[in-house]
């Protein structure tokens, strides 16, 4: 059984995806059952592995791949952290997507690629070496592209082309880094403390070379992480359907990049070695710039999804910042934000989707009084937004707290200023939305209810709506949309409230952190 | 030996002629003709480089190679001629498009 858990975790979504491709468009029930079944199965597998790891069982699978390089899947603590997040949020997103896409065309294709996308993410989480990581990293690029261009309009194709140009470019740089490193030190498997911890001093390449390789790694991974100035693709990709945006931002693409940076810093170079190379400080600077830049750009966006997108640019860099802070507290802050940001951001995107789907609201200026019409969704939105700002007891507070500690611990007091300034900016772009939503009077008619098409950029949403019976004239979003939204919001709260409980994200991250530093 | 060596420059010259013809002639048929001339030059070199034995008979292997080569050349020529005829019938041209363009520029 134990040997089967790893492949089963991957296969659950892969096989489901491949089968779904060939399902006729009509068989909604079968497709939904497959989707949900696969998501639950994957969650069960992950649960079993979590339990098994606690019992001291190690999960590892090696397959022959390139000459001298194996395909290595391994469930180590760091990977489990990410895979748990992915599996959980995939389940929520699947439910949400079933509701969101109800009645729209090409759903078999959509869910097929959707499943492939999750397979790739899980593969990234479970990769045990660089080659395997790269394999799934590129698969993710490919599987996401059809989701972004799903609507098939010229505007969408342009966004897709941009996405590809950025991510394939990043992939190429990453590949260069991987090959260069492995020609120097041989095949690299991820290991706590990094490869160089166990390597002979004589076998260690010269410092300039290592700095170059590190820079290539960060540049390559930075594209998906949307580190400024490599973030250009992200706001454009907002043309994708809402579940895709949720997936891109919370779990899959952006997170894959951030996770990759975590892997490279901690388990390839090793935090101690990276510190001695002196590459952490530049990384922290880049992350800080991105944090401030993203927040500033978010301030000026009126389109809700674009504001959220720039917020993502900013928030993901918290993870990178935490990674770049030398000291356990910074590490904890960065890693735990990997989870917390995912949960909070998916909540926000679900809400944005709910607004657009139910009322045709896309812009912040249209959101006046929306809290009265859609109280549950707006409540969830508020939780996510407050979490992002860092208000206790939502999960975001925990992250920021540890990041702050890390800044002090590593002696970079300017980082503290960056954190405070960024939180102020967070508040500046989220609080007005909350004020508008809760305290302003609602308009006489909502954009979509008036029978006119939505104001801009949502021709497809109009089609979707038209295909349906017509949206409910009163009340909140449809149950299939509301349920995952509320679950995600609850998770965001729970992760903050129960941070001290065993097996909470924070607890797990502490356990990981202990393995990364020299005793 | 002295009786043989005259064929070396002759063969080389034929190769040159053929090469020039294949590269420069614009008519397809003329290119095919040049191909045959070049082939003849090569065969001449082959036999000139294999001095006949004391009995005056040339190297049988070389002879066999040349006979094989001649047959292959005729196969290629026949195919080329047929394609050229068919092409002429369809398009009215005896030259390939890029050669036509080049001749017009002259």
């Amino acid at each position: 059984m134990n040997d089967w858990l790893l492949p089963l975790t991957l296969a659950s979504s892969l096989v489901a995806g491949l089968v779904i491709f060939f399902l006729p468009e009509r068989s909604v029930a079968l497709r939904s059952a497959l989707n949900l079944g696969a998501a639950l199965l994957k969650l069960a597998c992950v649960g079993a592995m979590l339990w098994g790891t606690q019992q001291g069982i190690s999960y590892e699978l090696r397959l022959p791949f390139l000459p001298g390089h194996e395909l290595l899947l391994r469930a180590d603590p760091l990977g489990l952290l990410f895979v748990t997040l992915s599996a959980l949020l995939w389940l929520l997103t699947t439910v949400y997507a079933i509701g969101y896409l109800e009645g729209s065309p090409n759903r078999s294709r959509f869910f097929g690629f959707f499943s492939l996308c999750v397979t790739a993410t899980v593969g990234i989480a479970l990769s045990g070496n660089l080659v395997t990581f790269f394999l799934f990293y590129e698969l993710l690029t490919l599987a996401t592209y059809p989701l972004i261009v799903h609507r098939g309009t010229p505007q969408v194709l342009q966004a897709g082309a941009r996405y590809l140009a950025y991510t394939l470019g990043g992939g190429v740089v990453l590949l260069a880094a991987i090959v260069w490193l492995q020609v120097q030190v041989g095949p690299v498997e991820f290991q706590a403390g990094g490869v160089f911890a166990t390597l002979d001093a004589s076998a260690t390449p010269e410092a300039w070379m290592l700095v170059g390789i590190f820079a290539l790694f960060i540049a390559g991974l930075g594209v998906k992480t949307a580190l400024a100035p490599l973030h250009g693709w992200l706001p454009q990709s907002m043309v994708a359907p809402a579940p895709v945006s949720a997936l891109l931002h919370a779990v899959a693409v952006v997170k894959a990049g951030a996770f990759g940076i975590v892997r490279v810093v901690y388990e390839v170079f090793g935090i101690e070695f990276a510190h001695s190379l002196g590459v952490l400080l530049p990384l922290a600077v880049v992350a800080s710039i991105t944090i401030v830049f993203g927040s500033l750009r978010a301030l000026t966006q009126d389109d809700l999804k674009r504001r959220l997108a720039y917020s993502t640019v900013s928030q993901v860099s918290y993870i990178v910042l935490g990674v770049a802070l030398f000291g356990p507290a910074g590490t904890i802050g960065g890693l735990v934000h990997l989870v917390h940001q995912g949960i909070m951001k998916i909540t926000l995107f679900f809400c944005a989707g709910n607004y657009a789907e139910t009322l045709g609201v896309h812009r912040i200026s249209q959101m006046a009084g929306i809290g009265r019409r859609m109280p549950w969704t707006t409540a969830a939105f508020s939780i996510g937004a407050l979490g992002m700002i860092g208000v206790p007891p939502v999960a975001g507070f925990v992250s920021k707290w540890y990041l702050g500690l890390g800044a002090i611990e590593s002696g970079l007091s300017w980082v503290l200023a960056v954190l405070l300034f960024s939180s102020l900016l967070n508040a500046a772009y989220f609080l007005p939305i909350l004020r508008l939503a809760w305290f302003e009077p609602p308009p006489a008619r909502w954009p979509h209810e008036g029978g006119h098409g939505p104001s801009h950029g949502a021709a497809h949403d109009a089609d979707e709506q038209g295909a349906k019976q017509g949206p409910p004239r009163t009340g909140d979003a449809a149950p299939l949309l509301l349920l995952p939204t509320l679950c995600a919001a609850a998770l965001a709260l729970l992760a903050g409230l129960a941070a001290g409980v065993p097996l909470s994200p924070l607890d797990w991250v502490r356990f990981i952190t202990a393995t990364e530093y020299l005793p | 030996m002295s009786g043989v060596s005259i064929w070396l420059p002759t063969g080389s010259a034929l190769v040159l002629f053929g090469l020039l013809g294949m590269l420069l002639a614009s008519s397809i048929l003329r290119k095919l003709l040049a191909f045959n001339v070049m082939g003849s030059g090569i065969f001449l070199l082959l036999l000139a480089l294999r001095p006949p034995g004391p009995d005056g008979v040339a190297d049988p292997v070389a002879q066999a190679l040349i006979i094989t080569g001649i047959v292959i050349a005729i196969a290629a020529t026949a195919l080329g001629v047929r394609l050229a005829r068919r092409y002429f019938e369809l398009s009215g041209h005896t030259e390939l498009p890029e050669d036509r363009a080049a001749t017009r520029d002259d």
Binding site: - | G3, V4, W7, L8, T10, S12, A13, L14, V15, L16, F17, L19, L20, L23, L24, S26, S27, L29, R30, L33, A34, N36, V37, S40, L44, A48, L49, R50, G56, V57, A58, P60, V61, A62, Q63, A64, L65, I66, I67, T68, I70, V71, A73, I74, A75, T77, A78, L79, V81, R82, L83, A84, R85, R86, E89, G92, D99, A102, D105, D106
Partner: protein, 308 residues
């Protein structure tokens, strides 16, 4: 070096050059035929009568005739059709040449290097030549060239027949323009009536001679083809062309070659080998079948498609 050789060489170059520069391709192909015949003489002087036969029959004869046929067809259509011929450039400036000096220089340089190379080569007596002489008795074929063609390097010959057949199949895929009806020419008919049976005899002789002297299937096949074509041009009542160029006839030679190569080869212990004592009849059978197929192939290369 003697005067005859020198004269031959100069004439050869002259013919080749004027063929390439000739005003029309029709003239060029006539000059090319002359070139081929002269080359055959050279082969004789170089001690290669087998090559001379092949050159005269195939290299000069068939290739020249093919080119001439096509050239005259182009010419007649051009004059008869709506497309007028371009302005004729006077001799010696050739028509249809485009000078590209870089290419000319490149070719000149190549030829110069080639000449230096062939002059520098010190010909070796050669392991292969000696081996032929040594193994000739064992091959049970009297004529060394035939031994090379059908025993030592029979595989080359087999593939070469395949090349010929591929050309035929490809040629038949591009159907020929309809042949113009040929006017009945009483003189030609008279000549043909005598020549055709004679040519058939010559073909048979060449075939038979191949095992011990110069000659063989290729030359015989070429003569056969010539006879058939002559009969056709002369509109003799015995016009076997339509039957002769049917696929089974064309394929016969190669099929038999492969069959014998495998069956006899299995008995002899190596593909394309012959069991000892059986060499003569087997080689003769292969050659006979090849002659028929080669003759038919050459005819087919000239004209008719499969369903003609």
């Amino acid at each position: 070096m003697n005067a005859t050789d020198l004269l031959l060489a100069l004439a050869l170059l002259l013919l080749a050059g004027s063929a390439l520069l000739a005003r029309s391709v029709q003239i060029a192909s006539v000059l090319f035929i002359a070139f081929g015949l002269l080359l055959a003489l050279v082969w004789v002087r170089l001690g290669a009568p087998d090559v001379a036969l092949a050159e005269a029959a195939i290299g000069a004869g068939v290739a020249g005739a093919l080119l001439m046929l096509a050239a005259s067809e182009f010419e007649s259509r051009r004059i008869g059709g709506s497309r007028a011929a371009g302005p004729r450039l006077p001799w010696p400036r050739p028509q249809g040449w485009r000078p590209r000096w870089a290419l000319v220089l490149l070719a000149l340089a190549c030829a110069a290097v080639l000449l230096l190379a062939v002059l520098a080569i010190e010909p070796l007596a050669g392991a292969a030549t000696e081996a032929v002489a040594r193994n000739l008795p064992q091959s049970e074929i009297a004529h060394p060239v035939t031994a090379v063609l059908l025993s030592f390097r029979a595989y080359d010959t087999l593939l070469e027949i395949a090349v010929l057949l591929v050309a035929v199949v490809a040629v038949q895929a591009a159907p020929a323009p309809p042949q113009r009806a040929l006017a009945h020419d009483p003189v030609l008919a008279r000549v043909a009536a005598i020549t055709v049976p004679l040519a058939l005899l010559v073909a048979l002789y060449l075939l038979w001679a191949g095992s011990s002297r110069s000659g063989g299937a290729f030359q015989a096949g070429a003569v056969l083809a010539g006879a058939v074509l002559l009969a056709r041009f002369a509109s003799l009542p015995l016009d076997p062309q339509s039957r002769l160029t049917r696929p089974p006839v064309l394929a016969l030679g190669l099929a038999l070659f492969i069959l014998i190569g495998l069956v006899a080869g299995a008995l002899a212990g190596a593909a394309l080998g012959y069991p000892s004592g059986w060499v003569k009849p087997l080689v003769l059978a292969i050659e006979a079948a090849l002659m028929v197929s080669i003759g038919a192939t050459l005819v087919a290369l000239f004209g008719g498609s499969k369903t003609a």
